[in-house]
């Protein structure tokens, strides 16, 4: 393969930038492991799963992280269960049912929703949502509040990315459906959704990643009690909230234990990424050669 002369500096610049990005990621992982190491040595991994509770700073410290892993997973799963149907429905509405003007404004609203900082969601949840829940079942700051706030935050992610996926279906598919005389509903169910499956699935997984990593909003509405929730109205603490609540004031063993929660979070995200890759591969094999690669389907979020 012959390259033009001008390509060479560009190639090396890109290589350097890519190497830098990779190195930073590896450095962060290495740093996490390094900081967590003292806690993995003593008290040891078993304590993070079998201790009776989480009192990392007391004289007889206890380090059970399991309730917070459960809290993170349950809150994320609940938010996905709620936001996925709503998000996909919003995307279908915007793509197939809304008049163009309405669709444009609807999308703008969703973009606005996606752009609101999480601390604003959290504050709104704290002063409006949790008092409402409290009238129903005190104390109000609860798993339910966390799920509702998280749903609201990931809804635009799912809706916007699913909409983009629906928009990038080859025109021929829809024209074929029309020529077969399919109703709009049959086109949506039979053609559009199956064809956009990959994009929709990746939007859901991306949203799940956002939900797992969300910190401030959850911290403000979830109540932060370290326990495996026994109902929707019970307060929970997530791994991210745990780090944010305690890291600024943690010393030595306590600090290292918080980095272990960071490591667990990293493992959860890794699992999620692997899952999404696995789903994509399966889907890409099915539709290989037909599905156009879609640049826009990338996340607008950091």
């Amino acid at each position: 393969m012959s390259r033009s002369r001008t390509d060479v500096p560009l190639l090396w610049t890109l290589r350097a930038v890519a190497a830098l990005a990779g190195a930073i990621t590896l450095l962060i992982v290495a740093f996490l492991i390094l900081e967590a190491w003292p806690a993995l040595q003593s008290p040891g991994i078993a304590h993070f799963l079998t201790d009776s509770s989480w009192f990392p700073a007391s004289t007889a410290p206890q380090f059970n992280l399991l309730p917070m892993v459960v809290g993170t997973l349950v809150a994320t799963l609940g938010a996905m269960l709620l936001a996925t149907p709503l998000g996909v429905a919003a995307a279908l509405f915007s793509r197939f049912y809304a008049p163009p003007v309405v669709a444009t404004w609807f999308r703008r609203l969703l973009e606005l929703l996606a752009g609101i900082p999480s601390v604003v969601y959290g504050f709104w949840g704290l002063v409006v949502l949790t008092p409402l829940i409290r009238q129903w079942a005190p104390p109000g700051q609860s798993l339910l509040a966390a799920i509702l706030i998280l749903s609201l935050m990931i809804l635009p992610t799912i809706a916007l990315l699913s909409e983009t996926a629906l928009r990038s279906i080859p025109r021929a598919y829809l024209q074929g459906a029309a020529s077969l005389g399919l109703s709009r509903w049959a086109t949506v169910i039979g053609v559009a959704l199956p064809a956009a499956r990959t994009g929709i699935a990746s939007s859901i997984l991306l949203a799940a990643g956002r939900a797992i990593g969300e910190t401030m909003a959850v911290l403000m509405v979830a109540g932060n009690i370290v326990q495996v929730p026994d109902s929707l109205f019970a307060p929970v603490r997530t791994l991210t909230a745990n780090i944010a609540l305690e890291l600024g004031y943690a010393l030595e063993g306590h600090r290292a234990a918080l980095f272990v929660s960071g490591l667990i979070l990293l493992v959860l995200i890794l699992l999620l990424v692997s899952l999404s890759r696995w789903i994509m591969r399966e889907e890409l094999n099915v539709t290989a050669g037909i599905e156009p690669y879609n640049e826009e389907a990338r996340a607008p979020h950091g």
């Binding site: 009192f55 700073a57 008092p131 109540g223 305690e246 943690a250 010393l251």
Partner: protein
Amino acid sequence: MNHTLIKYLAISCLLLLLTACSNDSQESVDPRAITGQLTLTGSSTIAPLIGEMAKRFEQTHPDTRVDVQTGGSSRGVADARRGTADIGMVSRALNEEEGDLTAYPIALDGVAMILHRDNPLTVLSAEQIIAIYTGKVTHWNEIGGADAPITVVNKAEGRSTLELFLSYFQLRNEDIKPSIIIGDNQQGIRTVAADPNAIGYVSIGTAAYEASRGTAIKALPMEGVEATLENVRNGAFPLSRPLHLVTLGTAEQIPALARTFIEYAASAEVSDLTEAQYFVPLTH
């Protein structure tokens, strides 16, 4: 031969001049005359505050470096004794065995118990507060309040307010049965202000400020003493503690840099930093 002698003389003269400078500079310190490195270790309550003060100190005294590390009040005492640190940070009064150290108060830390403004109760005894926080009393009507469950708001592990609260009521964090755990003082205020059945505690500075702005909270008196900044400052308020810097030996025996920094930390020049961290400055 002559050359070396002159050099020696010149250097000794210079040294003499320098020492003279630092000796004379107790009253009006020329910032540029103070040089060197200073290490402070100790209480994690005081460390963030001293860290902020150190930043400003380094700006006004350009040839100095102030290093702040945490590790708890006991480390502050131990390091000051061993000489590992120039100054220790101790968030309590020194006890009898620590007579070899000199303590310099720089600020006060006070905690106020807060209720929602609409809560009919205006006084709670220490026993009642302990019963509420340990889950022995779970409804307000058990102690003469409304027929409603109590929302017990506790602080996250490691906070100085939690530490002071626990030590004053002689509780262990394990014994507390909280309904909600919060992080900073603001979150505590918002949580209690949004819940008529909540009880919580926050730094007294925050409580006083928010109550004066009309936020729906009220601070409870402790042992009959109103929860005000004034009462913390004059030592009357029981749920409070002094924040100290400690050194081995008296103020005259320590280097000029350490002495200057200690004076600086207690001065009105940095009281805005003290207030920003919800502590009570010694002076206005």
